[in-house]
C-alpha cells in the first residue's frame, strides 16, 4: 500500500516571549518525529499527558504551524500549501476531537452541524441535504429523529457520534482520532470504538489514533508509536511485539489485567517527568530509568531500526 501520510523530522517549539523581567523560555512539544502511515492502516500514538501527542496531531493537520520538518499527505507537501489550498485539502483529512462536549457549536442543531462541512467546502451533496444529513446520522448510529436537537439535549456519546458524522461528511481518507473516548463513560467508549472499527472497514479509512490508554491502542491499532516528552522512543511494528524500550515496558506492565486472579507486581516509575522547558542532556527518560548508564545522561539516543522494530535507547531490552 502507498503511504497516505509521511511525516519527516517534525518539530514544534513553543516559546513564551521574554520581557524586561523574565527570560524567554521555549519548550520542544514535538521533537523530530518521523513515521509513515500506509493507506488503510491504523497507527496508534501513546504516551502520558503532556508528551506532545495532541500537538503532533495538530501539526500533521496543520492546525498548528510546525517549527521544522515536513508532512506529505498523499504525496503532497502540506507545508507548501497556501491557506486557500489548505482549506480545500482539509476535506480529505479530518479529525475527531477529545472533548465532544464543546466540539459542536451550542447554537447549532445537529442538522446544521452535520451540514456545515458541505457549506464551508461549497460542496453540494448528490441528494437533498436533509436526506444526506439523515444518512450520515444513521451511519454513525444516531436516530435521524434527533436531527433538530441541540447539543445540550443529547449525551456525550451521542455528541461524539455527531463529531464523527461531521468528520466523515466529506468522505475523507485520513481520520486523526485525538483521544476520541477519553472523556466518555467506559460502556460508551466501547460503543464508539466499535463504531470506528466498523466505519474503517466500511469506508476504507486510514486512522491515526492518539491515546494514553495502551491496552486500547493495542486492541485498536496495527502499529504503535510510543512518545515520551515530544520524542518517539519506540515504534512497535505490531501489537504483539515485546517492548524494547524500558519506558514502553513500564507502560505495558502498568495496564490492568482483566483477570483479577492473575496478580502481578507493577513496578511504578520513580520520579517525575522532567519539565519540557529545561530538558536534561541525554535521554529524557534517564532519570526514571532502571537501566540508565552514564552514557544515557550525556548523549540522546537516536531512533534506530536495524531489526524493523525501532527503539531510541542505548540499552534496549
Amino acid at each position: 500500500m502507498p503511504n497516505l501520510l509521511e511525516v519527516r523530522d517534525l518539530s514544534k517549539r513553543f516559546s513564551s516571549g521574554g520581557g524586561p523581567f523574565r527570560k524567554a523560555r521555549s519548550m520542544h512539544a514535538v521533537n523530530g518525529v518521523s513515521f509513515d502511515l500506509p493507506e488503510g492502516r491504523v497507527i496508534g500514538v501513546v504516551g502520558e499527558s503532556g508528551c506532545g501527542k495532541s500537538t503532533l496531531a495538530r501539526l500533521i493537520l496543520r492546525l498548528i504551524e510546525p517549527s521544522s520538518g515536513a508532512v506529505a499527505f498523499d504525496g503532497d507537501d502540506l507545508l507548501a500549501k497556501t491557506p486557500a489550498q489548505m482549506r480545500k485539502l482539509r476535506a480529505r483529512m479530518q479529525m475527531v476531537f477529545q472533548d465532544p462536549y464543546s466540539a459542536i457549536d451550542p447554537r447549532y442543531t445537529l442538522t446544521r452541524a452535520v451540514a456545515e462541512p458541505f457549506e464551508v467546502q461549497g460542496v453540494k451533496p448528490a441528494r437533498p441535504m436533509a436526506e444526506e444529513v439523515a444518512e450520515l446520522l444513521e451511519m454513525v448510529g444516531l436516530n435521524p429523529g434527533l436531527a433538530s436537537s441541540y447539543p445540550h439535549q443529547i449525551s456525550g456519546g451521542q455528541k461524539q457520534r455527531v463529531g464523527i458524522a461531521r468528520a466523515l461528511a466529506l468522505r475523507p481518507s485520513l481520520l486523526v482520532l485525538d483521544e476520541p473516548t477519553a472523556s466518555l463513560d467506559v460502556s460508551v467508549q466501547a460503543q464508539i470504538i466499535g463504531l470506528l472499527e466498523d466505519l474503517r472497514t466500511e469506508l476504507g479509512l486510514t486512522y491515526l489514533f492518539i491515546s494514553h490508554d495502551l491496552s486500547l491502542v493495542k486492541y485498536f491499532c496495527d502499529e504503535i508509536l510510543v512518545m515520551y516528552l515530544g520524542r518517539v522512543v519506540e515504534a512497535l511494528p505490531d501489537t504483539a511485539a515485546p517492548a524494547r524500550h524500558p519506558y514502553t515496558r513500564t507502560l505495558m506492565e502498568s495496564t490492568f489485567e482483566p483477570d483479577p486472579k492473575k496478580r502481578r507486581l507493577i513496578a511504578p516509575l520513580e520520579g517525575e517527568v522532567p519539565s519540557p522547558f529545561d530538558l536534561p542532556p541525554g535521554c529524557a527518560f534517564a532519570d526514571r530509568c532502571p537501566q540508565a548508564s552514564a552514557l544515557c545522561r550525556t548523549e540522546t539516543p537516536a531512533l534506530s531500526s536495524e531489526t524493523g522494530h525501532a527503539v531510541a535507547c542505548h540499552h534496549p531490552l
Partner: protein
C-alpha cells in the same frame, strides 16, 4: 384560526423566546411594560401631548399643577406635561442612537481585536482604554468645542463614553470562544476566517452585549440629562429632561414642579431599564459571562 387565537399563539411564541422570558416575572412585566409604554409615548408624542411644547404664555407662567396644565407650567408658561412627553422623545432617541453606534463600533473593534490578537489587539485596546480614562463630561466638552452644542455632540459623547465597555466585553467573549473545540473543528473542516467569525464567534458572543446595551441605554439617559443640565445637549426650545431641570433650578422654590417631573421621568425610566435588564440577564442565563469584561 381567528384573530384572537393568532394573537395568543404569537404571544406564546414570544414568551418562549429568551427575550420573552424576561417578561415571566412580575418585575419583568411592570418594568418591560413601562418601557414599551414610554417608547409608544415618545413615538406618538405629537398626538398625546395636550399642548404645543414650545408654545409660550407668559401670563400663565409658573402655574401650579391643575387644569388644564396637569403638571403646571414653566417660567415661560409652557406646559410641563407636554414638555416631559416630548422630552421622552429626545432622551430615548439620543440615548438609543448613541448606544447603537457605540455597540456597533465596540462589537466590530472587540471582535477584530479578540480574533486577530497580537499587536493589533494591543493597539485597539490601548486606544479604547484611553477613551475610558476621560470623564464623560470632558468628552462631551471636546465634541461641543468641535461641532458646537446640540444633540449630535451629546450622541457622540455618549457613544464614546460606552465604547470601551462594549469593546472589552465583545473581546472577552471572542477570546473565550476562540479556544472552544468547535472552533478548531470548524477550521479543520476548511472554514474561512469570515465563516468562523460571523457564523460561530459573533452569534455566541452577542447575548451579553445586548444586555449590557440595554442597561447602557438607562445610563445614556442619565448622561444625556446631565449634559442637557449643563446646557451642552438639547438647545432651546427642544425639550430634554436634563435641560428642563436645569432651567427649573432658577424657580426651584417658586415652582418646584418644573424640576420635579422631569426628574421623576429620568428616575423612573432608569429604574425600569435596570430592572428589565436584570430580568434579561436572568432570562438569558448569562450572569457569569458578564464577569471579567
Amino acid at each position: 384560526m381567528n384573530v384572537s387565537q393568532m394573537a395568543i399563539r404569537s404571544l406564546d411564541a414570544f414568551a418562549r423566546m429568551s427575550i420573552g422570558r424576561a417578561f415571566a416575572s412580575g418585575i419583568g412585566i411592570v418594568a418591560g411594560g413601562f418601557l414599551i409604554l414610554l417608547v409608544l409615548v415618545a413615538i406618538f408624542a405629537p398626538w398625546i401631548a395636550p399642548f404645543d411644547y414650545a408654545a409660550q404664555n407668559l401670563l400663565n407662567a409658573n402655574a401650579s399643577p391643575g387644569w388644564p396644565h396637569l403638571l403646571g407650567t414653566d417660567e415661560f408658561g409652557r406646559d410641563v406635561l407636554s414638555r416631559v412627553i416630548f422630552g421622552a422623545r429626545t432622551s430615548l432617541s439620543v440615548s438609543a442612537t448613541a448606544i447603537a453606534i457605540s455597540m456597533a463600533a465596540g462589537m466590530t473593534l472587540g471582535a477584530a481585536a479578540g480574533y486577530f490578537g497580537g499587536v493589533f489587539e494591543r493597539a485597539v485596546m490601548t486606544v479604547v482604554d484611553l477613551t475610558w480614562s476621560f470623564p464623560d463630561i470632558l468628552i462631551a466638552l471636546i465634541f461641543v468645542a468641535i461641532i458646537g452644542p446640540g444633540l449630535t455632540s451629546t450622541t457622540f459623547a455618549i457613544a464614546i463614553a460606552y465604547l470601551a465597555q462594549f469593546t472589552r466585553l465583545t473581546r472577552a467573549q471572542i477570546v473565550r470562544l476562540k479556544r472552544e473545540t468547535f472552533i478548531e473543528a470548524t477550521i479543520n473542516l476548511g472554514a474561512k476566517p469570515s465563516h468562523i467569525l460571523l457564523r460561530h464567534l459573533m452569534p455566541n458572543a452577542i447575548a451579553p452585549v445586548i444586555v449590557v446595551g440595554m442597561l447602557a441605554i438607562g445610563d445614556g439617559i442619565v448622561l444625556e440629562a446631565t449634559l442637557g443640565f449643563f446646557g451642552l445637549g438639547a438647545q432651546p426650545p427642544t425639550p430634554s429632561w436634563g435641560a428642563m431641570m436645569s432651567s427649573g433650578t432658577a424657580q426651584l422654590f417658586l415652582s418646584p414642579w418644573v424640576i420635579i417631573f422631569p426628574g421623576v421621568a429620568v428616575a423612573v425610566t432608569v429604574i425600569a431599564v435596570n430592572l428589565f435588564g436584570d430580568e434579561l440577564i436572568r432570562a438569558l442565563d448569562i450572569r457569569d459571562r458578564l464577569r471579567g469584561a
